[in-house]
Symmetry: C2
Subunit: 376 residues, 2 copies
């Protein structure tokens, strides 16, 4: 779910592609309260979004891309190879729209926004916004643009949750959906998210969520990100790239660390890599937004409270494609496959495809050309 190329790594990063500039990037403000699944309401909801290409006069060439946990509306920046000639998206054919999730810190309403009802920043009082709540808000934006058909909705990870929820919630609007590297979060995934939450909450700077913008819980967010990075990558990739080598800055794991104590020691290269990732993440993400989206992710289960899969999935009219990633241990390929088969058993047109990759969960961002090949 890293959306940046990893410049600390010389190989395997995203192929250099000219970054695409959106046709338009802006905000949409809902004209009424959003009633959330939890029963609470969210007032003055803003959705930040970006579009690429042009909407045709029939308004039937729209494609919706849903981003992953720490992503933004700028899909042209983090998924550029999907726009390559002959790939999945076309600036000439499609009107591609990507909407920042609620709870995020990239422009849509989130914990850092002001609650119009109190005049204060939401902070830790930001409510649980479900995947379905996100889809319902996004639908209003599409309504305002006059888009009644989506040729395709697609996304990886939490973006895939949204893509499927679109097909369930708005069956007449969605023609096809691609759901990549995702299923309802497993017990191991819930465990990983629980650890990440604690890392942030334990940082004294978090202050129960009431931290000042200039004093965020940097160490907690860094550790959370590092725990996440483990689950986005694979042991094979780490062995290849870092192995047991000492950190490239010359630290000595068999010697003393900077503090001179004996308990810590110099870092291995993998530790230097993770620390760098944690520091970078602090430059671009907010701790409370991270917590909000983890909760959105954890609580997503289309069958929660349902009587049967048929009741939920039987509504779907779209053709679905599920993609599992062979080395993904956050959302294991077998979980994605079983999820796809459950949905197909409810009478839905659903196929399952598998990416063979050593990149782990991140493969949908790190090996875009292979993803394009699978989706074609």
């Amino acid at each position: 779910m890293s959306i940046m190329t990893e410049s600390r790594v010389g190989t395997g990063a995203v192929t250099a592609t000219s970054v695409l500039t959106p046709t338009y990037e802006g905000d949409f403000v809902l004209d009424e309260h959003l009633l959330l699944e939890s029963g609470r309401t969210l007032a003055g909801v803003t959705l930040h979004y970006a579009v690429y290409g042009k909407l045709n006069s029939a308004r039937d060439n729209a494609v919706l891309v849903c981003h992953a946990l720490s992503g933004s509306a700028l899909v042209g920046s983090w998924w550029p190879e999907l726009f390559a000639p002959g790939a999945v998206l076309s600036l000439h054919r499609d009107f591609v729209i990507c909407i920042n999730m609620l709870g995020s810190c990239y422009g849509s309403t989130g914990p850092g926004s002001v609650d119009p009802e109190t005049g204060n920043i939401y902070g830790p009082d930001f409510p649980l916004v479900s995947i379905r709540d996100n889809v319902r808000a996004q639908a209003r934006l599409l309504d305002s643009l006059g888009i009644r058909k989506l040729r395709l909705v697609l996304g990886g990870s939490i973006g895939g949750m949204q893509a499927l929820e679109w097909a369930i919630h708005d069956p007449e609007r969605v023609e096809r959906a691609a759901i990549i590297g995702v299923a309802p979060v497993s017990a191991m995934g819930l465990a990983l998210n629980h650890l990440q939450r604690q890392a942030i909450q334990h940082d004294p700077e978090w202050a129960g969520g009431h931290y000042l913008p200039q004093r965020p819980p940097r160490r907690g967010l860094s550790l959370a990100r590092q725990i996440g990075m483990l689950s986005y990558k694979s042991a094979t990739l780490f062995d290849e790239r870092y192995g047991r080598r000492p950190n490239r800055n010359g630290e000595d794991p068999w010697g003393l660390d900077n503090l001179g104590g004996g308990l810590i020691g110099g870092r291995f290269d993998i530790a230097g890599y993770l620390d760098t990732q944690g520091e970078r993440f602090n430059e671009r993400f907010d701790a409370n937004a991270y917590l909000a989206i983890l909760r959105t992710m954890d609580t997503w289960d289309p069958l929660h409270g349902a009587l049967s899969p048929a009741e939920v999935f039987g509504r779907i009219r779209a053709r679905l494609s599920f993609v599992g990633i062979s080395s993904d241990w956050l959302f294991p390929a077998r979980d994605v496959r079983e999820f796809a088969y459950t949905i197909r058993a409810a009478g839905v047109q659903a196929d399952y495809r598998e990416m063979t990759s050593d990149h782990g969960h991140d493969a949908f961002l790190a090996e875009q050309a292979e993803l394009v090949r699978l989706l074609q």
Copy 2:
């Protein structure tokens, strides 16, 4: 590496076996300084150990058991099924000895001990004690008991590191060694340990390692333990035991948490389990001891600084048995197998066996009967 049965879990825990009482439990104090591989010396080194059974007059019936990260010398308490009739160890035939690792908090010299040279507790100044340093100290204890032959040395995880190092360091003394669920720590393992270290160091109560005994870094050690627990178990086991169920105390993941904020919410069952494990660990382990042993583990690589595997492993005279665990992702079975084959290629009698288990790394403690079957 949990050494306690998991009473929160109704099934799959260690079979009830009467806890074995050691024949003797006590301390051995080295009569001279221990010169460490790092070049530093450790004065007044104490080894806490336990023995089971009796040393015969020929003094050739000794078996050395080496414990895992958070284990103790009381092998009869944490590996009881290895003493079952016809199993690996026999109170009638064997003189079983288990020695607490240096750096630990179960009786041997560690960060909580007083440095006789300064009169202060070592704390963060406790030096790196390597696996080889441990073996050299243990050898002096065996010398003092007149033990010149070890019928068997065995251990799981970091205990297996010691077992192999025994076979390398003291080839004439070791007849057989069983090395279970271990190889030099992979990049993923180094990453997991890096996260655990940070969890402790980020706790303000850690105070650079100078915490007061009555104010230890409880939250940091709890989080470290929870990260560790993930790596000792498997996704399959977690799915079976916890799935996506809400915490059994009645919390609601879709509702609010105790604080009433929206960012956290009620816990899932897996989160309740992990929190319980973290709390329990605080009752029995020390943060600096944890850091010390993580470092001992990370830095172990018999080939570090060697010219060739033959130079290091060619010294071995013992028959070696390596055991990989099918679902272990801290020390993947393929790593253990490849490590065994590297050693065999150096002319050593080494076989590889594999435990099929959903218990992950912990299988050597959680499925002792199966381990016994494999070792026979």
